[in-house]
Subunit: 613 residues, 2 copies
């Protein structure tokens, strides 16, 4: 029986007793250290580089000489998959060799799925050509993955580089494929990560998530305002801009691409990765954002009968999409459903697995536009409503998106209003969830009546003094202070009579749409098994407030769930799992779009639902 | 019962009696006049425009007003598919409306196959969008072909033009698809033909064939010398050129593209068609031509172990291929087999259906290189040999390719040599078939002995006087006059001792390869059911001469068949029939490449086969 030796890993301090001659990579597994070994321990990728701090390991191999410079070798650098333990050793694992084991940073709706991305990385060592093996360069590497790709296709760019790459790398390569298409072949020693990016193009906010396609882990994310905002707050005003100005459409495309490319760059910088490591991008967004991103004419979206150019899934090259990623990368735009129900809604349905449920469920995606999805248990109905951007903080006097310093919650404490802000920063404005909370509290306290007016006369004199003191002005100029000098670090944050009217319009439109859809399939609110609130604002929403103001029909509180950026989660799922991408396409095909403006009943319900319960 | 009326068609004079109210297009069918109706008589394409010379027809329809100007209408122009016959009429059918019924001009190996091209044209009239039909622009047309394409994909270029095209054309369009990819949508009234081009890139000669993909007819062809010849006569010298000079490879690519684009332009001009009417191109060529056409590095083809970059079928866009055709057109390069057995050989095998035969067969493709294909009845063996360009007229002192004025046949008449030339033009040189005939005749007459030497002494004194008078010079300077001043219009065409040596080298290499391959599968020449001789020179070859000089093993004459440009025929078949394209890919996969240089026996057989029988 071989001698047992002790091995300790820094900086974590994990240790194990392993038989003499065990590879460091195997010892790491025993000790519970997650070492990155993308090539499966073949010594091809050089990613499992560690430093021997003390003790002895086996001879340096050819593979190690290929990946590690003589200076680094002299300092104890070795490949964990090549070096066997000789006696008691202490091994340092640099950050680059560690598998990030943190909880994914991403949208909470990213479910556990099989890691089965379209884009795959294979680490290969193929035999050199000879007179008894005259296979072409392509066939030589294609045969290595013949099981899953009987026919591997390759574009000219990769064909042109292939002969030199194979010969410069001693036939040890990292091959990247998308389905059965060869995307890139790099020398194994020079290849880095195989990343994907999921992009959610909101009318107001753009978010980017970077995923390691070899592990499925989310490595980084970034979000920022959509630069198109300067040309119009909502999609209609942007379509107008595109129509009116000669280069309007091209301009809108360019600015959103600037936003996206900057965010991809920012997220990659967080992890020290390069643009050329991103081999696939999935994109969600409403139909207008989708069209502008692709350079498609959005004008017919804004005119009855609101016809998109396409609602099909679209694949295009990085070059065509003008994204700063690997030039042979693919960009997949999830399908849309209708002129005002886009790929973002398809993402929400995909993430929430609506159509896989037994019981009816509702999803409300609240962005600058509102999209409502109702799964009846058999039929998938979708509708849109012009909710306006109130819930994204726009058209609210001191509104803002959910960023640090936004008032995200308002509640009553000691007979007075109290607030929290995102990241506990000094209050600078109010975001969607704060708006909803504030109005719910004002209704409870009687500061605002069910018609949405600030209370006066008898009603106002019944208010707690601390609250009454916050109300200023008269008539349409009335407002209530939410954050004082102290809470803002100078200045006030207040909610105005006009802000409350904006909220009424928005919630009335959403609620009327929900009621109409329920009526379409003869369902009552009580039949709903779950109600999901998606959208940037779904991260912070208090379900109780949504119920209190009547945004949602009366339901038990526990059935209502804020799910954050579910559209982005759908884009991530489509990136890491082929089956989920197929599911998204099926969802888009099976959805029935209901054009509510055609229904005379809609305006009646809308007017009624502008009132608070 | 309706009144019968008489209708006569000019210029052919065909006539018929048809019931009053019969459409002119139907009457044409009855009269046996082939009228072009690509849209199937829906009044969408406007291609069946005729002129009423006398008599009366029904009212002018909206569709006719869309396609015919008021001036033309006033002159009697009408659409045959719209105008019903009212009384006795005489109708003129312009050339454009006639289906060309001539025999295809193309290579004789183009077999009758199902017309089932990848690229298809559909003429559609789709419903206008409405609030009860909000399908996207893409879905609107995709649904019209949903039977064959449940999922139609579309690139950005066509998506960008689609909304305007649909609305400008009153939703009457000509749609071009490649498989289930949307390639182009044009207003029906403005759309012209849907053409394909088959391109055969030979080392010496490039040929282009233009095919109407709606009828399968070959409409035009053009051929010219490959401009790469200025950089080297054979593939090895071109590969050298590509290696030695910095921009050598790019230069070789550019000049062959110039040749191809000029030929496509020339062929289109013959039929008054436009570049943008060409929606697909298929390409054959040897592996070096294939690599240079695609911009792939050919250097490893010339060094043992002669490894190509790829032998797989390659699809690329017209833009990537730098071909002057429709920008969304596809270019399909047939697969290759090995470094010296290319897509041209795959074309030959496809055209000749080698592997669908019961009995063994041999194909010899003679270009600047020689490729030999042997079908044993079970196995498909291929080999190449460096035959040299003698059969293409190169390295023969007065050699030329098979063009007007080339001596293509030599025979004995009245005790003297006699010749024919291509197109009966004055003799300007000698092409491959003439060379073969000449040597066969000289062997028969005893002018040349079986070692290839001009006869002297006793043997030469036994020659007919007229023939003996033609022999001039001594030793290596000896030559025989084939065409005199009178036959050339000034000057002589002669065959030299050195020319005969070149032929011996070429035929020896080909014959040795044939013998080796037969030996590989234990076959005798007598087992062969058929021997096909392909190559430009296969158009003119006399099988008897091929047997006489020993280019082929001894076989009954009737088994040997010259089949012309079978490689080009393969490219045409792959263009017009998907099943044939699939067959070509299967052929390439199943072929076993035999590297004869590895066999020590080859040199012995080669030396022996340089002698004449």
């Amino acid at each position: 029986m071989p001698k047992l030796v002790n091995i300790t890993f820094q900086p974590g301090g994990q240790s194990a007793q392993v038989p003499h001659g065990t590879l460091i990579s195997e010892a790491a597994q025993t000790a519970g250290v997650n070492l990155a070994t993308p090539c499966g321990g073949k010594g091809l990728c050089g990613r499992c580089q560690v430093i021997i701090k003390s003790g002895q390991v086996g001879e340096i191999t050819d593979s190690e000489r290929r990946h590690i410079s003589p200076e680094q070798l002299a300092q104890g650098a070795r490949l964990a998959c090549q070096a066997p333990v000789a006696n008691e050793v202490v091994v340092e694992v640099p950050l680059i060799a560690q598998v990030v084991a943190e909880k994914a940073l991403g949208p909470e709706m990213v479910r556990a799925v099989d890691l089965e991305p379209f884009v795959r990385r294979d680490w290969l060592e193929v035999p050199e050509p000879s007179l008894s093996d005259q296979r072409s360069d392509v066939r030589r590497i294609a045969d290595a993955v013949a099981d899953r790709c009987p026919q591997l296709t390759a574009g000219l760019a990769v064909l042109r580089e292939l002969p030199a790459t194979l010969r410069a790398s001693d036939y040890q390569v990292a091959m990247t494929t998308r389905g059965c298409e060869l995307v890139s072949v790099q020398p194994a020693a020079a290849a880095r990560q195989c990343l994907g990016a999921a992009v959610d193009i909101g009318t107001s906010t753009v978010a980017v998530y970077i995923i390691d396609l070899e592990t499925g882990q989310q490595l980084a994310s970034a979000a920022a305002g959509n630069s198109q905002v300067q040309y119009g707050l909502d999609v209609i005003s942007r379509i107008d801009y595109a129509n009116i100005y000669n280069e309007g459409q091209a301009q809108l495309r360019s600015v959103v691409l600037e936003t996206i490319n900057a965010l991809i760059g920012e997220a990659l910088e967080q992890i020290g990765a390069d643009q050329r490591e991103v081999f696939e991008v999935t994109v969600v967004g409403n139909t207008c954002m989708h069209h502008l991103f692709l350079g498609l004419d959005p004008q017919h979206l804004a005119q009855s009968p609101y016809v998109p150019v396409t609602t099909e899934p679209v694949n295009l090259s990085a070059a065509e999409a003008r994204l700063d990623i690997h030039p042979q990368a693919n960009v997949f735009c999830l399908p849309c459903i209708a002129g005002f129900v886009g790929a973002d809604t398809v993402g929400v349905i995909t993430a929430s697995e609506m159509t896989r449920r037994q019981r009816p469920a509702l999803a409300v995606d609240i962005g600058t536009n509102g999209e409502i999805v109702l799964w009846s248990g058999e039929r998938l109905l979708v509708a849109s409503c012009a909710a306006g951007p109130a819930f994204e903080g726009a058209q609210i006097q001191q509104g803002m998106r959910g960023a640090p310093g936004a008032i995200d919650h308002v509640y009553v404490s000691n007979g007075d209003l109290a607030i929290t802000t995102i990241d506990n920063q000094p209050a600078v404005g109010i975001c969607g969830s704060g708006l909803l909370d504030a109005v719910a509290v004002l209704l409870d306290l009687g500061v605002v009546d069910n018609s949405g007016r600030f209370a006066d006369g008898e009603a106002s004199s019944a208010l707690p003094k601390a609250v009454a003191d916050r109300v200023q002005g008269k008539g349409n100029q009335q407002r209530i202070i939410l954050a004082n000098d102290e809470q803002t670090g100078g200045g006030l944050v207040a909610l105005t009579q006009r802000d409350i009217r904006e909220l009424q319009l928005a919630k009335g439109a959403i609620r009327a749409t929900i009621d109409m859809l329920l009526g379409y399939v003869d369902l009552e609110p009580k039949d709903l098994d779950e109600v999901l609130i998606a959208g940037a604002f779904g991260n912070y929403i208090q379900p109780a407030s949504a119920l209190r103001v009547g945004l949602l029909p009366q339901l038990p509180l526990k059935k209502v769930k804020g799910v954050g950026n579910a559209a982005g989660a759908g884009a991530i799922l489509a990136l890491i799992c082929q089956a989920e991408r197929v599911y998204a396409c099926q969802v888009a095909k099976s959805a029935e779009h209901i054009e509510l403006f055609r229904e005379s009943e809609f305006q009646n319900i809308f007017a009624e639902q502008m009132l608070f319960p």
